[in-house]
């Protein structure tokens, strides 16, 4: 791989140990995947934040990097393992909170914006068409690649950090035109009505297409929330972190020759598959990926003058929550007895053993709560989830 004079100096350690280590990671990845050079990135989203996933060794690694490492491009952060202000109310232990705070202090020391959200594109880190970025968090990677037309591979924790500390990423994969071209035409012969239909479509496509990039035809309109749901789901269930939808996503392509047809029956089967036989749900959660302001508004309307009869968690970024406070939505929601879980989500929080069955409108949430937390799942729309939470 070609390196500029400056990049060679970075690799030799002239700019400190964190930059050296970062360059070693990026150059190795570049060589493995046949990149010709490094390219500058406009922003970074770092994954690998929860203490539940990092452990003490993760803390050690990050501390080592933070000794002389500083981010050189705007960098935002994935959800942590707890709500940074409200962790006690959500049942997080003191020990866990202490470790989680250490991790966030380390990121802050390196200049990372402590956003703690899987939806950086809703809180100011929103790349444009053709922008090269290096993002972790598979749902955000897929949203930015597909809906925003930005260019990123699915980065892991260490490689996204390496890009933040150097401002570079190896040029391979979805940074290159040839790999962004759709190879399968997907004809949708079903009316997709809501976020769970889009989540179910993601599951169907992820499982059917594996890593192949699709061009989807037959969707007339799709809201931000529905595209967020599809982005999270398709990559969770094994798909590539990039899709195109004719008339909706920004990149234009000719129809690929190979085609598949998706009917209502396929969507319904996927929805059925995400619903376990359960008698009682003990946690209802929405906001995977984190809620938009629109979703918060809708929840406040649904909860107006009502009381919840179950744990209802609303996962959202701190920034959107603050806007919701100003608009008065938060008050309505909290008066009903629902809880905000800012900065976190049930996937990265230490919840194993605390609940038996959860209800959610997220297909991604279904996958991880089944496999990581061992919970049974009820998969339904936002309206139905809220209805379930208030039902006596």
């Amino acid at each position: 791989m070609f390196l500029t004079k400056e990049e060679k100096r970075m690799l030799e350690g002239k700019y400190g140990n964190a930059v050296k280590k970062s360059m070693e990671i990026l150059v190795a990845l570049g060589n493995i995947f046949g990149a010709k050079r490094l390219i500058p990135v406009k922003s970074v989203q770092i994954s690998g934040v929860s203490y539940d996933n990092l452990g003490d060794a993760g803390i050690e690694f990050l501390s080592e990097m933070a000794k002389d490492g500083k981010v050189v491009v705007p960098t935002t952060l994935n959800p942590a393992g707890m709500d940074l202000e409200n962790w006690k109310k959500l049942g997080i232990s003191k020990e866990f909170a202490k470790k989680q705070k250490i991790i966030l202090d380390i990121f802050a020391k390196m200049g990372v914006n402590i956003t703690c959200t899987c939806t950086p594109y809703l809180v100011g880190n929103k790349p444009g068409v053709g922008d090269h970025i290096a993002w972790g968090e598979s749902s955000a990677v897929t949203y930015s690649n597909s809906v925003l037309g930005a260019r990123t591979n699915k980065e892991g924790g260490p490689s996204s950090l390496a890009s933040a500390l150097t401002g570079r990423t190896p040029e391979y994969g979805y940074h290159l035109d040839k790999n962004r071209k759709p190879v399968v035409l997907v004809k949708i012969e079903a009316d997709l009505k809501n976020e769970i239909d889009f989540g179910a479509l993601g599951k169907v496509l992820g499982e059917k297409l594996k890593g192949k990039v699709p061009l989807i035809k037959g969707i007339k309109k799709a809201s931000t929330e529905e595209l967020k749901s599809l982005s999270a789901s398709i990559v969770t269930y094994g798909g590539a972190p990039l899709f195109h939808i004719k008339g909706i996503t920004p990149e234009k392509f000719r129809d690929p020759k190979k085609e598949i047809i998706i009917k209502r029956k396929d969507i319904d089967e996927a929805i059925k598959d995400m619903n376990d036989k359960i008698e009682e749900v003990d946690l209802v959660f929405v906001g995977c990926p984190h809620c938009t302001l629109n979703e918060i508004k809708k929840i406040s309307e649904l909860l107006k003058d009502k009381k919840v009869n179950k744990e209802l968690w609303i996962c959202v970024s701190r920034k959107i929550k603050k806007i919701s406070d100003k608009k008065g939505y938060s008050k309505t929601i909290e008066s009903a007895g629902a809880k905000f879980a800012c900065d976190t989500c049930p996937i990265v929080a230490p919840l194993k053993g605390r609940f038996k069955a959860i209800a959610t409108n997220s297909a991604k949430g279904v996958f991880y709560n089944r496999n990581k937390n061992n919970f049974k799942t009820f998969f339904a729309t936002l309206e139905d989830c809220i209805e379930l939470a208030v039902r006596k």
Partner: protein, 129 residues
């Protein structure tokens, strides 16, 4: 026999081989405290990677696996060296941040040619056994 490959993380180490025909997931598949392979039904389930030249086709699973390798190293139970048929991102990044000498893409297939328990040396891009 001497065979050459591609350096993922450069180093010289010599030790006993632990060979797996199956892929390995470090996150969830190996105990970070003990170095023991815990993945249910894995051919090496119950074996420890500590101090071994770990030979396997490639890594699989979550990107958190890189951090698990780092945990193994810090706990003193990491493999001495790693040989892959062809590596992927998680294990490559794990080897780099944990400073575990690693090579892949050897001239001769390591899984077929290296026997369990055999003494193997990684010397830069060379593997001697």
């Amino acid at each position: 026999m001497i065979t050459r490959g591609r350096i993922i993380f450069k180093g010289n180490v010599k030790g006993e081989a632990l060979v797996s025909e199956e892929e390995i997931s470090f996150y969830g598949g190996i105990d970070a405290e003990t170095g023991i392979i815990t993945e249910k039904g894995h051919p090496l389930e119950g074996k420890s990677v500590k101090g071994k030249i770990l030979v396997f086709p490639k890594g699989k699973g979550s990107t958190v696996g890189s951090y698990t390798m780092y945990r193994l190293k810090k706990n003193g139970v990491a493999p001495l060296g790693i040989i892959n048929r062809e590596c992927e991102t998680v294990v490559a990044v794990g080897a780099i941040i944990s400073e575990i000498p690693m090579v892949d893409k050897l001239d001769k297939d390591p899984i077929k040619n290296i026997k369990n328990g055999q003494i193997v040396e990684i010397k830069g891009n060379e593997v001697i056994f």
